[in-house]
């Protein structure tokens, strides 16, 4: 159990550092927030009294470090503040967008794993043979493609040239479940395909060394089939780097989802972040960043816990 406690403790400072750093950096942005809000509301130049009142309301008259701690204290009570622009609570805005992004991410990960695992296994098992070289060449080609090009190409293929999937838009799951899933296929595939090359390559490399192990020779000598050996004996011990990369790539996934949600007009967290940055809605930006940091930290914890599931020796060895 100590292994898990230690892992959780490691992640606490990471979370504080991210929220603090983002708070400070947002504060360093040029321009005046009060002006931005007041100019937006009234066409005339705001009076000094109005300015002072708003500053007080938003705590902008206090030093930035104090504001951070006020914000932090509220956050622990589940209050991320209200949008400067439309006074919607940040948590409410997030709650609307999170399910959408979550669905996108989960589908992207499922597609990425579903494509990378079989390719990695074939490639590692047939290392050096034509099929492996073909897969590797394809992987490097995909690796060189930026996210927005991948998305555009997929739209061109599956929405225009062979129109079987919608190119943009989002349907509510409760209203039309199949339509909802259809809408997510292309964006999820865009993110998933970008992840495949690295995942597949690390699995291939680890599998090649696992296949040299005596316990694989023993499994063969027991008369187990190749497919069974690959999936049941070799995959788990070969998936450490794979799982690590999967966790690390979540960072890319979040930034990726910003691009992809914009490209496919999906109202997710990424789109929310972009819109908030556009509107200079600092408190909303801060809220989204906090959420992303939480997800990132949570996934990393999950990855560490996965090690222990993959290999019981990890938990036994301790942190």
């Amino acid at each position: 159990m100590n292994y898990f406690k230690a892992k959780i403790l490691h992640l606490v400072p990471v979370f504080f550092l991210v929220t603090f750093a983002s708070f400070m950096m947002l504060n360093l942005l040029p321009g005046d927030l009060v002006d931005a809000i007041l100019l937006d509301e009234e066409s005339s130049v705001p009076s000094a009294a109005d300015r002072a009142a708003l500053e007080k309301e938003l705590n902008l008259d206090k030093p930035v470090i104090i504001r951070y701690f006020i914000w932090l204290g509220n956050m622990f009570q589940g209050d991320l503040g209200r949008s400067y622009i439309n006074t919607q609570p940040v948590t409410e805005a997030l709650a609307l967008r999170i399910p959408v992004s979550l669905e996108l991410m989960i589908m992207a990960q499922i597609l990425a794993i579903g494509i990378a695992v079989p390719l990695g296994l074939i490639s590692g098992y047939k290392a050096g043979q034509p099929i492996d070289r073909g897969i590797s060449a394809g992987a490097f080609a995909v690796l060189a493609v930026p996210l927005f090009i991948m998305g555009t190409v997929l739209i061109w293929i599956f929405a225009i040239w062979w129109p079987i999937l919608p190119s943009s838009g989002h349907t509510d799951f409760a209203k039309d479940a199949w339509g909802n899933i259809q809408g997510f296929i292309l964006p999820a595939l865009t993110i998933g395909l970008i992840e495949v090359p690295v995942l597949m390559r690390v699995l291939r490399t680890d599998l090649i060394s696992t296949l040299q192990e005596d316990y694989i020779a023993l499994a063969k000598s027991k008369g187990m089939s190749t497919r069974y050996i690959l999936f049941n004996h070799a995959l788990r011990p070969s998936s450490f780097t794979f799982i690590t990369i999967l966790g690390l790539q979540l960072g890319n996934l979040i930034t990726g989802s910003i691009v992809v949600e914009t490209l496919f007009s999906i109202p997710g967290v990424g789109k929310l972040l972009i819109d908030a940055v556009d509107a200079r809605d600092e408190i909303l930006v801060q809220g989204v960043i906090t959420f992303v940091a939480l997800v990132y930290v949570g996934v990393n914890l999950l990855v560490d816990l996965m090690y222990a599931v993959l290999d019981p020796r990890v938990a036994a060895r301790g942190a």
Binding site: D214, K220, S221, G223, N232, R313, A316
Partner: protein, 338 residues
Amino acid sequence: MPADIAESQPLLEVIDLYTHFDTPRGVAHAVDGISFTLDRGRTLGVVGESGSGKSVLSRTIIDILSHDGSVLYRGKVMFEGRDLRELSQKEMREVRGREIAMVFQDPMSSLNPVKRIGKQITEVLVKRMGMNKASANLRAAELIDSVGIPDPEQQLKRYPMHLSGGMRQRVAIAIALAGEPKLLIADEPTTALDVTIQAQILDLLRKQQRERNMAVILITHNLGIVSGYTDDVAVMYAGKIVERCETQELMNRPRMPYTEALMKSAPLLSDPPHTRLDAIPGLPPNLLNVPDGCRFHERCRYATDRCLTELPDLTADGSSEHLYACWNPLEVKAEALS
């Protein structure tokens, strides 16, 4: 075929077997024209230094080396009258585990570290013996019990990391026995274990062999193990068998100088402390580039000019079953000297 022929037929007959590895640096002659027979219930010791081809021989028989073209095979492996080398991969898979099973050298690495012991045994029972999960679990516990591990039901739930080396090797033996094989290949089963455990494991192997009338190929570099636990013995050197006979005969009357050198290089309990071992000078030949003539000539104290150019065949003296490959066999020399 009629039962009496099946009975008289040897269980395993290896005929002129070659296993060559096509490496970037050339072709490695790991197994280079080997023939022997093994009857049911007998134990054949295969002895030789590291790199003599013993392990490759065993892996060729059970056919777990690569088939991607990097390994070249020739010759026959007749098992109960069928040539295993002619079988398809699918047919050969039916043989592995059920007819022929294997125990590996290092039990620290031969058990899958991320699978429970029980699963590693029951997968043979379920996938190969057609048992259902419940009866496979019962059978696995019986097997664990029969290899002398206490508290079998509990052990099934444990991982290899929870067991000592000796215990792991017992588990490996239980796995091999699960398919009730007719032939068990034990590739240096005690080399990675400490000395007190070695005898326990070998005694266990012998007990299981007798109960099941199983044939065993016991691969080792230790002549002491050969003399204690085998019926027949084949001495390998650089991919070839250089001497083959009954174990007692070999121990009493070795003919091949290499066998003699191996015997002399082993420490004796009766030696006073700090006695220098009579090690064999030099190294075994590089299998990528085996020397002409007798492959042992560079390290042989009896080598003559003929040994440098002509490769001696594995032949018998007269009608005896003691085969050796040497131009200057030992007894002849002893008579000449006297």
